[in-house]
Symmetry: C2
DNA sequence: ACAATCCATAACCATTTGGTTATGCTTAAT
DNA sequence: ATTAAGCATAACCAAATGGTTATGGATTGT
């Protein structure tokens, strides 16, 4: 189940939020504490960003005692990828060429 | 020469702006008038959206008398595609698979 | 010459956004 | 039992955003 494109696009429009998402993608699961050290804004600010990312299903969280561990959701970018797939000439070209190759290989 | 990822992400965060960009991609060059009819907001609103899209280099314009024709810029989505390429596990997986195929074909 | 069209900009407004500090709840540590 | 740590939420604020109507300049049509 994936979030609406709107939520995904809005969530990734903010550079701090992109940075948090990138960090989670690179380093794996992180606590809010760790992310706060990384992000360079206050802990409540980070919590709010995480809420927005959650709404877009770009992150999941897991409570463990007093800590909350967040992790990037692997397939979460699908709505954005699909959008690019449909409307992005540049990307579509690049992708279509590869798809053609695949098709020609199948038989 | 491409715009900063920031501008591209911000520009596409708004649904009206995405709709305008999609319309330009599908139908080709359009005047502000035509886009206004399409977008369902006032002409000045459309002009402002086009300014934001311009800043992201997602559109170009061409003056012709009293009309201004806008068109989608083909390679304009590159910063977003590159970002996905770098950080999007889902997309990367999909793309890498295809790239592998290509490589195995080359020799 | 005059009127109408196309568009951008200005001026304005309500809402959203991204940040802050303050607070309070839960859980861990001493 | 206290104290401290981790986090979310509340309350607040300045700035940005997305919309509107008003305006004016340039171009076209009559």
């Amino acid at each position: 189940m994936q979030a609406s494109p709107n939520f995904v696009f809005r969530a990734l429009a903010d550079p701090t939020r992109r940075a948090i998402f990138e960090e989670l993608t690179r380093q794996g699961e992180q606590t809010v504490h760790a992310l706060t050290r990384y992000a360079g804004v206050s802990q409540p600010a980070v919590s709010k960003h995480l809420t927005v990312l959650k709404r877009a299903k770009l992150v999941r969280h897991r409570r463990d005692g007093r800590e909350t561990h967040y992790q990037a959701q692997p397939d979460s970018l699908a709505p954005m990828v699909n959008w690019l797939d449909q409307y992005g000439a540049f990307w579509r070209e690049r992708f279509d060429r590869l798809e053609d190759v695949l098709k020609r290989m199948e038989p």
